[in-house]
Symmetry: C2
Subunit: 201 residues, 2 copies
């Protein structure tokens, strides 16, 4: 303990960690700032000093993930073929979902989160960029459904409590292997798929 | 309006419909019996007369779905080949998830629901039967991950708000087509897959 340590930063990190625990236990709607303060063991005013609303806490937890998505989009957009761009997006999503298993568990499928994402221009831009990588510019309905299955499959598997016995490394390897086979199946020999430029069988 | 109409049955249906709306808006944790009573426009005591706890309401909403799952398991178990049993389970899940899009939206991924399912022996038995159909008796980790991707892909696509423009019929057709291609990709030419008895390429 030195004077250099920042109590403000420490409380902030403890609030975020406690909020993530409580969101996992009760959902975001079922968690209050008071519950978060109680879990940290500080007064509600101390939480309020860091975050004025519960939404601010959710956004602070989500920001690093969306920063990663924005970087992934930037990297993938520099790739020439549409098929390769989609492959980068898929393997990037697998990496993100597995590395952030605890966050994915809390945020995936929560009705409040979609609205929050849409309310932040930079988050919405990252999601839109990712969707364009996965779907192409004007996807048909079959492509939209197929890509929904793949992305929901990634997120849903990262948060599957029945796979909690798998280490992050094992889950990453097995999920990536699965996705490669699935993407090949969906995008090969189908002229309507987003990777039609890549495959000709 | 005749004397034959049952006010008790009518209130019960209105409570269930209001609860489903509120669960979709606020999550299960974020919904109280009082909120449900307010939405129906009755006193809390009238709700309490039908359902003593919020969990009773959740169970009443889930019961028809689990009855359907139990029937699906019974039908599929009578099929001889493991591969065909798995195909029946997948197409049954697609039908269930799309027909119950509103219920799937509320219940899929809610941390409270998994515990409730486990607490009811008949629900847990239906889920275990379905998992055995999908996975076989002693699945390896690759099979567990692959089947998690397929089932999460089905549920996650049925609840995807970005596909709300698709009719139930269109979504069912497109999702089933997608799943057939994916199942073929995962289960063909892999001796470790649950359908290894079926395919030899």
């Amino acid at each position: 303990m030195t004077k250099v340590a920042s109590p403000r930063g420490v409380v902030r990190e403890r609030v975020l960690a406690a909020a993530l625990e409580l969101f996992a236990e009760n959902g975001i709607s079922g968690t209050s700032l008071q519950m978060i303060a109680d879990r940290v063991g500080v007064a509600k005013a101390s939480v309020y000093y860091q975050f004025h609303t519960k939404e601010d806490i959710v956004l602070a937890l989500m920001r690093p993930v969306f920063d990663d998505i924005a970087r992934l989009v930037k990297i993938a957009e520099a790739v020439d073929s549409a098929g390769a761009r989609r492959d980068v997006a898929i393997s990037g999503l697998v990496e993100l979902a597995v590395r952030n298993r605890d966050l994915t568990t809390v945020f995936f499928g929560d009705p409040a989160v979609d609205g929050l994402v849409r309310s932040r221009e930079e988050f919405a831009a990252a999601v839109d960029g990712l969707n364009t990588l996965l779907l192409g510019a004007s996807p048909d309905d079959q492509t939209r459904v197929a890509m929904s299955v793949l992305t929901a499959g990634i997120y849903g598997t990262a948060i599957n409590p029945h796979l909690a016995d798998l280490s992050d490394d094992d889950l990453h390897r097995l999920l990536l292997e699965t996705m490669k086979r699935l993407v090949t199946a969906l995008c090969s020999g189908d002229s309507s798929g987003p990777a039609a430029d890549q495959v000709d069988q």
